[in-house]
């Protein structure tokens, strides 16, 4: 079982490497776009973040606001990379290879998780750049222990993988992947507190945010990197992340089963 899974990962990795490696600009843009967006939001919010009212102490200084938004951008980039991988997965349907994938004996769940491999490599690179930048900016990083970097990375990585598997599995039902971009780009960043703290959002929007894994991931990232929280301080959020991730993977497995059965019945795997 494990050997078979590793084979799927290796094959997916190779496929994505061949597809993406020729396109250097793609990698470049993974860093450039988030940076451009980060500074746009920074300059847009800055006039109110230090308006004299001290409602948001973390963002009272320019460096603090930038660090808050940068952590938000990092978390969002992690999850959005998986949204993009799901989008690429929809190409399998358009090019007719989805049917071939499902004729192979590969485990479906492993397949949709492996689909995010390329995104994960991107994310590791992004994380290293971000961590490097944070270490060099004076007065922003407040870390309880260097090992918290590992906790932060895992708190982003594992929920993001689960998120990717869940999104991929939904695409069994439809070819229309444009809605993924519409729903899980800006709205996700907004609702999960990537741009302003969840505490400032109206109650019903914040409630939607609690379901999204990015929200809890950002609590961990900011707590650990900007507020010197320890593992014990973040226990609640880490458990929340574990539960959300488990639920997402379980949902993905269920959707894949239902979707495949439906596709077999209706002959839709190849249709678009």
């Amino acid at each position: 079982m494990i050997r078979a899974s590793m084979k799927v990962f290796a094959a997916e990795g190779l496929k994505q490497h061949r597809r993406m490696a020729s396109n250097k600009t793609m990698v470049f843009s993974q860093l450039l776009w988030p940076l451009l967006e980060l500074f746009t939001i920074y300059f847009t919010i800055r006039p109110v973040a230090d308006s004299g009212e001290q409602r948001w102490p973390l963002a009272a200084t320019p460096g603090g606001l930038l660090a808050f938004l940068a952590t938000g951008a990092l978390g969002f980039a992690f999850f959005f990379a998986l949204v993009q991988s799901a989008w690429h997965f929809s190409f399998e349907r358009q090019t007719g290879t989805l049917e071939l994938l499902f004729l192979s004996p590969a485990n479906r769940l492993v397949l949709v998780i492996a689909n995010g491999v390329g995104a994960l490599v991107q994310n590791l690179w992004l994380f290293l750049c971000f961590a490097g930048a944070l270490v060099f900016v004076p007065g922003v990083l407040r870390l309880a222990h260097p090992a918290m970097f590992v906790v932060v990375f895992l708190a982003l990585l594992i929920p993001a993988i689960a998120w990717g598997a869940f999104l991929n599995s939904m695409l069994i039902f439809s070819r229309d992947s444009a809605f993924l971009f519409t729903v899980f780009s800006d709205p996700m960043a907004f609702v999960s507190g990537a741009r302003i703290p969840v505490a400032f959002l109206p109650g019903w929007i914040a409630a939607v945010g609690t379901v999204l894994p990015l929200t809890a991931s950002l609590v961990v990232v900011r707590g650990a990197l900007l507020q010197a929280n320890t593992l014990a301080d973040l226990g609640g959020s880490l458990i929340q992340l574990a539960v959300i991730s488990a639920v997402l993977v379980a949902l993905a497995a269920l959707l894949l089963k239902l979707g495949e059965r439906r596709a077999q019945r209706t002959g839709q795997l190849r249709l678009f």
């Binding site: 308006s51 004299g52 009212e53 948001w56 444009a178 519409t182």
Partner: protein
């Protein structure tokens, strides 16, 4: 060069035919896709500013902003910027992506041998873009009003002027972007980089004076920057010709440079794309 009336009528036909084609196709195939994404993105920007202003800033903005923006109406400033940004993004997408879409759909060779000229063809797309984006921006304005944002209520003449200036600026820019897309053979990276860069430097959601000098100079190379400088006071009802003329001249001047560059680059980019398709 004198042009015969027949030829003018013919160019008009191309504009109209392209408009009708685009309208029909989008009404049938993607009636809500673009509408939703445009309105949603703009609505989120406005909501972010609204929440930041009321929840974070305690309904106050720092004095520096008022001085730089010339007004303390922070949410109104961002909302107008978000409307203009939505307008730019959709206009650019329709017009700049027209030719590369032809290439992707395999019709660019047919277009190349058709007697239609590029200008009326692209103007047809722009006409469609103005019509469909007009609906989207109107919906977005409705959202802002529901939120309680005070939008400026310009006279019809001022509104028409703003539309005209912005349309010229975006149209000229889209010609160059279109050529770049055809050269590069891709649209995704080009369009996003252009949108995000212009969103940062042109002064949509914050006064440009916040930016470092280098970026401010870079912004002057884009026709939309000066066009926005003219659009804001016009929307607020001011027509002080002496004050607006210099920026208007810059907006039109830069636009003309882009138009010339676009018409010089496009045929070259096109022949490259056709070469690639065989």
């Amino acid at each position: 060069m004198s042009r015969s009336p027949t030829r003018d009528r013919y160019a008009g036909n191309v504009v109209w035919a392209t408009f009708v084609r685009s309208w029909t196709m989008n009404r049938r195939a993607y009636p809500w896709t673009y509408f939703t994404s445009t309105v949603l993105a703009g609505a989120l920007t406005i909501s972010l500013a609204y929440l930041a202003f009321h929840a974070v800033g305690g309904s106050a903005v720092n004095a520096e902003f008022a001085q730089r923006a010339g007004s303390a109406d922070y949410v109104g400033y961002v909302a107008v910027g978000a409307l203009a940004y939505a307008f730019m993004v959709r206009m650019l997408l329709w017009t700049a992506k027209a030719l590369i879409t032809e290439e992707r759909e395999g019709t660019i060779a047919a277009l190349a041998v058709a007697p239609a000229h590029r200008l009326p063809y692209l103007m047809g797309f722009s006409l469609f873009a103005v019509a469909s984006t007009g609906l989207e921006v109107a919906a977005l304005s409705g959202f802002a009003l529901l939120l309680g944002v005070q939008l400026p209520v310009p006279s019809l003449l001022n509104l028409a002027l703003v539309l005209l200036i912005l349309t010229i600026a975006v149209f000229s820019l889209s010609l160059v972007v279109s050529a770049v897309m055809l050269y590069a053979g891709e649209a995704h990276i080009t369009q996003n980089t252009v949108f995000l860069l212009l969103g940062l430097i042109c002064g949509f959601t914050f006064p440009r004076s916040y930016l470092p000098d280098l970026l401010r100079w870079l912004a002057e190379l884009v026709p939309i920057t000066a066009a926005l400088d003219v659009a804001r006071p016009l929307l607020n009802g001011a027509i002080d010709a002496a004050e607006l003329t210099p920026r208007l001249a810059v907006a039109l001047g830069v636009s003309v440079i882009y138009l010339i560059a676009g018409f010089w680059l496009l045929p070259r980019a096109e022949s490259r794309a056709i070469e690639r398709s065989f």
